[in-house]
Symmetry: C2
């Protein structure tokens, strides 16, 4: 479990979700589908910018839309993801400080690298 590449996808997802407008967008959409102009109106963000953020969320398969005449009604494509996301960012996670002794014991006998093998390189 030391390969960093396996975390790239998860990191991309988190980074993409980590934008205030996109979070507000997701919360708004999680209540009901909305068209771009409604969102623009609701969030006080310019239309082009709303479209840009929606495009990002759409590429990530987090939202999708249906066309209704001239309008595009966006909705949450993965409600479970958004729900869990909102819980994560909404919850308070208290700090659980450990004592030096606890940490030292949990760290095991691994002192330094004095006995390190040259690895695979």
């Amino acid at each position: 479990m030391s390969d960093i590449r396996q975390w790239r996808e998860a990191a991309d997802l988190l980074r993409l979700l980590g934008h205030p407008v996109r979070l507000a967008l997701l919360e708004g959409l999680s209540k009901a589908p909305k068209c771009v102009t409604d969102i623009q109106d609701l969030l006080a963000v310019r239309q082009a910018n709303v479209s840009q953020h929606l495009a990002v969320l759409r590429q990530a398969k987090i939202v999708d839309y249906h066309e209704d005449g001239n309008l595009r009604c966006y909705y949450i494509l993965r409600p479970g993801l958004v729900r869990d996301l909102m819980r994560l960012v909404g919850r308070e996670y208290p700090c659980k400080a450990r004592t030096p002794a606890q940490v030292r014991r949990a760290a095991g006998a691994r002192r330094s690298r004095s006995s390190a093998q040259p690895a695979t390189a």
Copy 2:
């Protein structure tokens, strides 16, 4: 709930977590506390870079450390947060596509903005 500023903190948190090295770091630390050199060795990332990422996580109060002589043993300061985070990025969230009719109905009667009330502003 249309104020974007209230999402800034959450967005900052997600963005900060959205980095492959930091995720790998958190997973490694969630198994046991480790010192910087151990991590550097485990993840094949340069020492300065490990320190940089750890500094970010420390400022966000996600990790902390205790000094053990010359070493700094880092540990997860908010295990609940990291646990839920790992669950979120580890789980599969299936796409729940809606039909146009479903979306239109859920969107309510809000067609466009033609009949928009001036809101509370």
